[in-house]
């Protein structure tokens, strides 16, 4: 049986782990590499690392740091931030990331998904779809929330699937950092329109929120605030979910 995954997302800015609310008010939480080492010792299912500055500062991914991260992670990790070309994606994967997460570039040229997929297989590509409500309509946004696009997240997820993406990281910006629960309605709508594995992100405030999201047939939940600012941990989440009959991964036993 495939296990439901609990994934800490680490927002990376200038070598520090930061945390924001609704993509604003970024606040430094800890040193990045130290945080990675701690999550690795805790044997989390997976780690998502998003460099939130690189796109807007027009920087390419910091490959040396990615190599450093990869040498300290013994579980899979996804890297996102500043990937603008097929070559950037390949470089990131060669530096040790298991998956690349694309966001802003998808709105310039969605065929980047086909190009990467053809070379590495779809399982190495995550489309990170940020969305928020604007004038009562859901819209996709990019560039760390700064650019608003006409397309709605459901159609955009379908488009990503058609172009060879392997997994969807769907992030409700209105919920980000608020700990008010995942956007279950949108998760459900996207789920019924695409067959790719879905990682829900944005809004986790309790283990119950994670359980609620898993009732929508998704593969993983991601959280950052609760793992940085509260006593809640990925291990605690698994204990809670296991009691509620969600299949989660136990650590190594012998």
């Amino acid at each position: 049986m495939i296990k439901k995954r609990i994934i800490p997302t680490l927002l990376w800015s200038d070598n520090n782990l930061v945390k924001g609310v609704n993509f604003k008010d970024r606040r430094q939480v800890a040193d990045m590499l130290t945080s990675i080492k701690i999550f690795n010792i805790r044997d989390v299912d997976e780690i998502i690392i998003l460099d939130i500055d690189s796109t807007n500062l027009n920087k390419t991914p910091d490959l040396n740091s990615i190599i450093d991260f990869s040498k300290n992670i013994s579980v899979p990790f996804t890297y996102g931030g500043g990937i603008k070309s097929f070559q950037d994606a390949l470089d990131v994967l060669k530096s040790g990331a298991d998956k690349v997460s694309l966001n802003s570039e998808l709105y310039n040229d969605i065929s980047i998904l086909n190009k990467i997929s053809k070379h590495t297989g779809s399982q190495s590509i995550v489309a990170s779809v940020d969305f928020k409500k604007i004038d009562e309509k859901f819209r996709c946004v990019s560039n760390s929330g700064q650019k608003i696009h006409e397309i709605n997240p459901i159609d955009f997820c379908k488009l990503c699937q058609d172009h060879g993406c392997g997994e969807l990281l769907i992030n409700a910006i209105d919920r980000e950092g608020t700990m008010s629960g995942y956007d279950l309605e949108m998760i459900e709508k996207i789920r019924s329109n695409v067959s790719l594995p879905i990682i829900a992100s944005g809004g986790a405030g309790s283990y119950q929120d994670m359980f609620d999201a898993f009732t929508k047939d998704i593969s993983a939940v991601s959280a950052s605030s609760i793992f940085s600012f509260t006593e809640l941990t990925p291990t605690g989440a698994k204990k809670f979910l296991k009691k509620k009959k969600i299949d989660v991964r136990d650590g190594y036993r012998y």
Binding site: L93, G121, Q123, S195, Y252
Partner: protein
């Protein structure tokens, strides 16, 4: 003991290199035929497309050298994910492509085997041990490993060491003589994966 990690431009090599170093061995990363001499064990990692992988192995003239080492000199080989798949006869990813033919069987898309679950098959999934084998020493039945694949191997039960369920039963590890293969990524599977790599190095 000299360990070669074969680099054929199919995915990252840091994770596997790191685990081997943590186990106090010094692996070498080998990209050319001329460098592939005098090794005791070979690891064939891999992520990507079957046809591209075969093309790169051919381009770097690694196929004959590997055949000599593994088939004739009976040196141990561990294939990981795509590195396991290309050990078989044939792959169907972007058209049929001939594999290394060290093992008998075909590589097929999960859908063609009747899998109706969401694809790709990504995440932690448990193995069902079918056979006692030194590969799985100190690894319990139902242990979780990390998978990331759309394609799987279809081969005879004789060489199957463990299977995994994902809508359909899939072959998750195989062994024949000196050749081992795993569909999952031991280098990304935390302590269970490290144990499997240790088993390979100590066998």
């Amino acid at each position: 003991m000299k360990i070669a990690i074969i680099n054929y431009e199919a995915g990252n090599l840091f994770s596997i290199q790191k685990i081997i170093e943590d186990l106090n061995y010094q692996p070498s990363i080998i990209s050319k035929r001329s460098e592939l001499k005098n090794f005791d064990k070979f690891i064939l990692p891999g992520v990507g497309s079957f046809s591209k992988a075969m093309k790169n192995l051919k381009k770097n003239e690694l196929i004959e050298e590997m055949r000599e080492n593994v088939i004739q000199k009976k040196k141990m080989l561990l294939g990981i994910c795509l590195g396991m798949q290309i050990l078989f006869d044939e792959g169907s990813e972007d058209g049929d492509t001939q594999g290394l033919k060290f093992l008998n069987g075909q590589v097929k898309h999960l859908q063609s085997l009747g899998c109706k679950l969401n694809l790709p098959h990504i995440g932690w999934n448990n193995i069902n041990i079918k056979k006692n084998h030194s590969m799985l020493k100190n690894i319990l039945d139902k242990s979780d490993f990390y998978f990331a694949n759309n394609y799987v191997v279809d081969c005879s039960d004789e060489i199957v060491v463990a299977t995994t369920d994902y809508g359909v039963p899939i072959v998750s590890s195989v062994a024949k003589d000196y050749i081992w293969g795993v569909q999952f990524h031991p280098e990304k599977s935390s302590s269970s994966g490290k144990q499997l790599i240790e088993n390979f190095l100590k066998s």
